[in-house]
Symmetry: C2
Amino acid sequence: MSIETKSWNEDANGFGLNHLPYGAFRANGSTCLCVRIGDFVLDLAACAADDVCDSLPVELRKSLTQPTLNSLLALGPQSWHTLREWLTSVLEEAASDEVKTRIGLFIHPLDKVELALPISIGNYTDFYASLHHARRVGELFRPDNPLLPNYKHIPIGYHGRASSIVVSGTEIRRPWGQSRPPNESAPPNFGPSAALDYEVELAFIVGQGNVLGEPIPIAEAGQHLFGVALLNDWSARDIQSWEYQPLGPFLGKSFATSISPWITPLAALEPFRVPALPRPAGDPQPLPHLYNEVDQQNGALDIHVSAALNAAARDMPLAQTNSRDLYWTAAQMATHHTSNGCNLQPGDILASGTLSGPERGSAGCFMELTRNGAEPLQLLNGDRRTWLQDGDEITLTAFCERPGLQHIQLGRCTGRILPAHPAAPQSS
Amino acid sequence: MSIETKSWNEDANGFGLNHLPYGAFRANGSTCLCVRIGDFVLDLAACAADDVCDSLPVELRKSLTQPTLNSLLALGPQSWHTLREWLTSVLEEAASDEVKTRIGLFIHPLDKVELALPISIGNYTDFYASLHHARRVGELFRPDNPLLPNYKHIPIGYHGRASSIVVSGTEIRRPWGQSRPPNESAPPNFGPSAALDYEVELAFIVGQGNVLGEPIPIAEAGQHLFGVALLNDWSARDIQSWEYQPLGPFLGKSFATSISPWITPLAALEPFRVPALPRPAGDPQPLPHLYNEVDQQNGALDIHVSAALNAAARDMPLAQTNSRDLYWTAAQMATHHTSNGCNLQPGDILASGTLSGPERGSAGCFMELTRNGAEPLQLLNGDRRTWLQDGDEITLTAFCERPGLQHIQLGRCTGRILPAHPAAPQSS
């Protein structure tokens, strides 16, 4: 069977016609946007230059020739819908032979292309939206009072470092950093992090932004979000715990953040929308600007997310969790973020924070799984881990399924730990 | 006297040939780079298109045609030096009449152009480098233990919001936000901030960045910094104090940050370098990677910085401070920032944090001056202030002077407070 006459819904492996995630690949020194279908990519820049795209509006066609999705994101939901309809029409079984033959010219096997980051990320915000994560981390440091009084009123978040976000597969160098001195009169330690951790997160990609000074009402927040990706917020817990007061995490996080290469449009996830997590009895209602009935009814996503250590060697499944267990919805995060007038921009990332569920087996980081290193995990091969070792690889995967529907597989997010630089960064 | 034969060092008002700060102005719907000389701007894009620039290397010339300084910043210190030498040669008294006449074509009066942000800011980091500020703020909340144990070992900082950085003169809308409930069982308040503050800061603009995973040794940090600007880190203290634990400041800061339109090259400030602040007796030495003898000898800048409330009405000088009083140097901030491998990029901002000096009259924000609102300031016109009122304007100015040298005036940074939106952002 030739590419141009392939039926994409056979053997789609979670990347069928109902999915169509966006990415980018390197070709001849430049970067081209693409869409994934099965184990192939469709080169969108090549399509845009061909008259097979003639029916698309000029500005939409132009956005496909850019090295990142940002121009497409800025065009807004109507354009995203038009493009998705067009992609479906040229890839579906019912497309004409002429279209299939033409489109076939622009399709490449996935294993022949090098994937790149498909968005230019102006600002990366990391939330803390899992109550289970916040409570388990809080219990480690404040056993009597694990949750701070603000937690149930505002989606707590902080600004992350955008420059060090890398595409899945990029190797992660173990960071050097300062950590707490052994006693108050001793100098702090400076060396390679001895408490390197991962965090399983879902990243929401901002589509159209808002004007500085103009908040996004919660009823409109969904229209400003384009898609989702998996994100691993690598964390050096020893650096983080020494530095984080009073201004929050900084170098314990900023050495690297990995993101899957495929952005799944929220349009593909419509069938997997579920009600927001019911608030436990006694919890306060969100203030009115953070509460919307429609959002409560379908503002959460039923995405099964897993983390595994050295998956190729089948060493250890670490966690199985689900984004439906988040305490705050993406719309609440976006509305809170802009409630002071802060402007979101196309390509910005709003990450969920560690996606931990109610059971310990759904905890999304070593800090929770090993109780801050106190209880090592036993791996299937007999090894133990409290934190990541050099050479360890973390792989995040995720899927959505419903009876009668084709399942959707999000893009994988992997990263392997490289040893720290052997010598301390040069001093004077 | 015509422009082309003007002697720029007469009536330069701090913007003479020894200064030459970079900026950008809007013209015909696009943005052009420029350099300021006296009360005029030289259009660098127009120069680059003219053969008066023939002696400059191609890539340097090309960088001048961009809408931001980022390409120039990426070229590095040798290119910055070449450009500065060239600018001096065409603007100095000794330039040929032919050059003066040609250059005169590209010079416009400052009051005829609209200034714009001259850099694209990928990431904005805000430090906390004034010990005096950290101690006074700490005393308000932890009277027995104002300074946390990490303060004297690491330049504490956090990631700020880059998207909401605006050029001086942009009006600042009072943000809405949540603040602490009156008691634990009450819901939080949501309304316009009632504790709006300013923070006087110095911004260091990153020139060439570093590769992810490769720290910048302190001996090389200076080469990665291009210039400085004044920065006002507007802060809503009621929002900030409710949200900031455990992940640091977020919406209390992200509604707006103002920056002066002129980037003063560090090359212009060489004569105003001074030794780093001597550490008080008993303070720990910085760890070796943060300590460099040359940096200790001349890593601080003797810049007098002032803040004024409603300067036009002469209401109130608020503070007079000096950047030489910072506990950490810019090189220490850059080296710490990259010590974990985090990559800086051209155009990134490393801000000092509030520039407070040892005396109360050198405190760089209302929070210090009014002891968190408890002691209102008496204004010269009889009014009082604890926090900013609608219509208030904050103006930051700064200068350097030395006997026998022409003085340098940094670009002003101003912003006026607009009333909050009258109604709460729409809810469901």
